[in-house]
């Protein structure tokens, strides 16, 4: 729109407006250089700002997945170690049995030595199966707050026809290598003496023992105390569970390691050591208990048959190791993928919200010189007046 008549107020206001606009541009350019961010408020680039937010969420998710993979990897490593130990241990047990079978003249004594050694291995296996990572028992399934496997657990019960006041006040395993799994009975022949019977074998282990209330009575590795006053004819039955009972559950634990990918990260004891749910699964605890029993009972046939079972047990452990190995491979490749994804997301965020510094600085310089030029022009336009020339 052509202005035909220029007045003082037009000159002043247009100069002021022009300088204002240039100053705003200058401030904007300066902020861009100072923050090195292209998007400082939503309205700078609404779509870009939304995209950045979206990408940040993705990035946080990816980083979370990386943490989950970390957790899964550390568990896999713990399983791998435990399984290797179990494998070595089974190989050693098998060796002992082979040696026992190959020895021409074996005696009860040498067999008992082997039995005790295998009991030791069984106890170690239980320790391995009770491995903890942090506070979690890793073979326990969902019931991860308590050890999933127990060794032998003894218990005593007073006979139904007892007339005295005697009670079993304490019972514990004192020597696991001597625990047989047989049922025993303490029979009071008088208030002051008792016999000990092996009910399973129908033999008397000792007779006429002197009873002192509260004193330790040890029967086949199990120590108990009877207090009170038992009467003649009172009995106490002593039993023990087989070693290796499982108290965990079959709970599978999964973690999300990629968007929507829930990968299992645990092995349960039921599966690994008891063979539950595995084709041709074998109860390894049972195997060791059987071997001990066969050694003590001189059962050569069972011993010989156990060799195949040992092979199967080792295959089972190795099979589980293979499962863990597969998981480790998956986790390794996932880490690589996630790290790539995180990097490219970061680059994308940067490309949207960061400025090219060289460009920003040259833009700043351009705006700055435009500002200076407009100030210079303004100074020369406002100054003169006709009055300066009227003399």
């Amino acid at each position: 729109m052509p202005i035909t008549r220029v007045t003082q107020s037009i000159l002043h206001s247009s100069t002021a407006n022009m300088v204002q606009r240039q100053q705003r541009r200058l401030l904007d350019a300066q902020l861009t250089v100072a923050t090195q961010k292209r998007i400082r408020t939503l309205s700078d680039d609404p779509t870009g700002a939304g995209q950045v937010l979206n990408l940040r969420t993705q990035l946080a998710q990816t980083q979370q997945f990386l943490r989950n993979v970390d957790r899964a990897t550390s568990l896999a490593n713990a399983y791998d170690t435990a399984l290797s130990q179990a494998d070595t241990l089974l190989a050693r047990a098998r060796e002992l049995v082979v040696k026992e079978l190959n020895t021409a003249a074996t005696s009860d004594t040498t067999r008992e030595v082997t039995a005790v050694e295998i009991i030791g291995l069984r106890e170690q296996l239980i320790q391995i199966a009770n491995t903890r990572v942090g506070s979690q028992f890793i073979f326990a399934g969902h019931a991860s707050d308590a050890p999933p496997f127990s060794s032998v657990v003894p218990s005593a019960a007073a006979g139904g026809g007892n007339t005295g006041t005697g009670v079993v006040s304490q019972i514990a395993v004192s020597d696991v290598s001597r625990v047989t799994g047989h049922q025993y009975q303490i029979v009071f022949t008088s208030p002051a003496s008792f016999d000990v019977l092996d009910v399973t074998q129908g033999t008397t282990l000792s007779a006429g023992n002197v009873f002192t209330p509260g004193a330790n009575i040890t029967v086949a590795g199990i120590t108990l105390q009877v207090t009170g006053a038992p009467a003649a004819g009172d009995t106490f039955d002593i039993t023990s569970t087989a070693a290796g009972a499982y108290a965990g559950d079959g709970g599978e634990i999964r973690l999300e390691i990629e968007d929507g990918v829930l990968t299992p990260i645990n092995l349960t004891g039921a599966q690994t050591f008891l063979g539950a749910g595995l084709p041709g699964g074998l109860d390894i605890m049972d195997l060791l208990n059987d071997v001990v029993e066969a050694l003590r009972g001189g059962d050569e046939a069972t011993l010989a048959a156990s060799l195949d079972r040992f092979d199967a047990a080792q295959r089972q452990i190795v099979g589980q190791q293979a499962v863990i190995g597969g998981r480790q491979n998956l986790l390794d490749s996932t880490v690589a993928r996630l790290e790539d994804a995180a990097l490219s997301t970061e680059n994308l965020i940067s490309s949207i919200e960061d400025v090219d510094l060289a460009e920003a600085i040259s833009e700043f310089t351009r705006v700055e010189s435009a500002y200076q030029a407009s100030l210079g022009a303004a100074a020369r336009v406002i100054q003169p007046s006709l009055l300066d020339f009227l003399r």
Binding site: M1, I3, T4, R5, V6, T7, Q8, S9, I10, S13, S14, N17, K37, I39, R40, T41, L42, S43, D44, D45, P46, T47, A49, G50, V52, L53, N54, R56, T57, A60, Q61, Q64, R67, N68, R71, G134, S135, Q136, A140, G141, H142, A143, S144, D145, D249, G251, I253, R254, L255, E256, D259, G260, L262, N266, E353, S385, L386, L387, L390
Partner: protein
């Protein structure tokens, strides 16, 4: 012939008139120069009339260089400018509240919560991880509440500002009416009180920035019409604007118009421009929309989390617990409805049925109503019997309406939904807040069971919003993008409008502004004419001397 031979006295008179007229012209020039920096001042110039038969000159009038059309244009453009400038202020305040580029806010709080749930799925028995989930869930609620509080404060401030502006309007209209009175009394057939007219025009310009008006001249006085054709100033009378709290709109003000001895009217919906128009529009537009968005997000988030959490079991073996408080049931009378009927009780009866859509109970008589889902338009009930004090149950919501101030009138509407206010009431369920074991990480009570924690963490990627099209984060990003686009639009509109106003102002100034150079020229011109007129008198004097000397 005698008429051409003027008397010597006649010449003297002509010279006297010349001196007189040029003195007036010099005074006008002086006035122009003196007011070179007075805002709203319009330059004046004397209009000379030569007297008949060579009898000198007279000043017919002192004219203002004002063009009504430019004034009207400036007033119109300033109304838009006023509207846009307040809109831009409010929008940039909203933007600052939702500034997620700095990394604090709802989006970050949501991310943190999901992260803590993932950590919980890694360590479902960990006390630290449970504590983290509880803390993060609690602070998500705090962030929502803080954001809501700030948006509501923005809305209240906009409302307060519009109230203050209403008072300002009343002051301006009273002054304009008073000026109308003075101008009418001082206007003669020859001369208008120019400075008073300038003053009035300046007030009209000020008023244009505040409210949408139209003006027209009615003789010497100026009539100002406000939106809807009501006269704001008519002659010496000024109307009063006042405000009233609108309970149907969260206590926001409605603008009432009252002409003493005349009509009273509600003109809220008619003020579209000026600062008041802009504030009303942004207050009930973008700000409310933004509140709606975060309410929707909070309501759906809390409901989805609750439904999933209910499936799980805490370490204490209890299942079926909520994680958060339940979505609120909101109700308010519809616009224009009486407040006869109100809510006396409400509950969410089934979270899984909630739609987060808007409903209306429309009374068709004192005892019957229709129930309509206004989002989809579906009628849920038609001609249902209204029993005061008994619950109306639909889509998971139960609401009890009762006659608080009398029976409903046909046409009364109660609006109902299950999301408004949710962002202000996202708190942890008391059971979870009180006991970490209540957090249901598993589907069983076993400490190693992480299945529910996984499912809760999985909600991050679930397409839970927008009818199964967006994740929570997507929804929030879309809301922010929309806000950014709106704000950018307003800002660029404001820049454009500023240029338009500058241009029109330039037009006005080009015609009516004072140019010092021009006035300097005039000064010399009138001074010379004055000097010459004085010379005429001294010439006549000499002539008289000559004649007297002849005697």
């Amino acid at each position: 012939m005698s008429s051409f031979v003027g008397s010597i006295g006649g010449i003297l008179n002509t010279g006297r008139q010349g001196i007189f007229v040029n003195q007036i012209a010099l005074r006008v020039t002086g006035q122009n120069i003196a007011n070179v920096n007075t805002p709203g001042y319009t330059r004046q110039r004397p209009i000379f009339d030569p007297s008949a038969f060579g009898n000198g000159v007279s000043v017919r009038t002192i004219q203002q260089l004002r063009f009504r059309f430019y004034d009207a244009q400036l007033s119109t453009e300033q109304q838009s400018l006023g509207s846009l400038s307040v809109k831009q202020e409010v929008m940039s305040r909203l933007e600052a509240i939702f500034n997620e580029t700095s990394g604090t806010g709802i989006s970050t709080a949501m991310r943190d919560l999901f992260q803590s749930l993932h950590d919980l799925s890694s360590h479902p028995d960990g006390t630290a991880q449970r504590e983290a989930v509880r803390t993060r869930a609690g602070s998500l609620g705090d962030v929502f509440a803080a954001v809501r509080g700030r948006v509501e404060a923005t809305r209240r401030d906009a409302d307060l500002q519009s109230k203050a502006l209403v008072t300002q309007v009343n002051g301006l209209t009273a002054q304009i009416a008073a000026l109308n009175d003075q101008i009418t009394r001082q206007t003669t057939s020859a001369q208008a009180p120019n400075e008073l007219i300038d003053q009035r025009q300046r007030l009209v310009n000020e008023l244009s920035q505040i409210v949408s008006i139209q003006t027209f001249e009615d003789g010497p006085s100026l009539t100002v019409m406000i939106a809807g054709g009501h006269p704001l100033v008519e002659g010496v009378n000024a109307a009063e604007l006042s405000t009233r709290e609108d309970m149907a709109n969260g206590g926001m003000s409605r603008i009432l118009y009252h002409l003493p001895g005349g009509v009273t009217a509600d003109i809220t919906g008619r003020i579209s421009e000026g600062k008041i128009g802009g504030l009303l529009a942004v207050r009930d537009g973008d700000v409310v929309e933004q509140l709606r968005q975060i309410d929707q997000l909070a309501a759906q988030l809390m409901t989805r989390f609750n439904l999933q959490h209910r499936l799980g079991t805490g370490l204490d073996g209890v299942s079926g617990r909520d994680l958060f408080s339940q979505a609120p049931v909101w109700s308010a009378p519809g616009p224009g409805s009486t407040s006869n009927v109100g809510q006396t009780g409400s509950a969410i009866v089934d979270q899984s049925l909630l739609t987060f859509q808007d409903y209306e109970v429309r009374f068709t008589s004192a005892t019957t109503y229709d129930l309509v889902n206004t989002t989809t338009g579906a009628a849920l009930a038609t001609g249902a019997t209204y029993t005061p004090g008994s619950a109306i149950v639909f889509d998971g919501i139960s609401i009890t309406l009762d006659n608080l101030a009398g029976p409903p009138l046909a046409g009364d509407v109660v609006r109902v939904n299950s999301y408004t206010g949710a962002s202000g009431s996202l708190t942890l369920d008391p059971a979870v807040a009180g006991d970490l074991r209540a957090l249901a990480a598993g589907l069983s009570a076993e400490p190693g069971d992480n299945r529910n924690a996984l499912a809760l963490a999985g909600l991050e990627s679930a397409l839970a919003m927008g009818g199964g099209t967006a994740t929570f984060a997507n929804f929030f990003e879309a809301a922010l993008t929309r806000l950014g686009v709106r704000s950018r639009q307003v800002t660029s509109d404001l820049e454009a409008q500023t240029l338009v106003v500058d241009q029109v102002q330039t037009l006005v100034d080009s015609l009516g502004g004072v140019s010092l150079d021009e006035e300097s020229v005039n000064l010399i011109q009138y001074e010379r004419a004055f000097q010459a007129s004085a010379r005429v008198i001294s010439a006549v004097d000499e002539m008289m001397q000559t004649i007297i000397a002849m005697v």
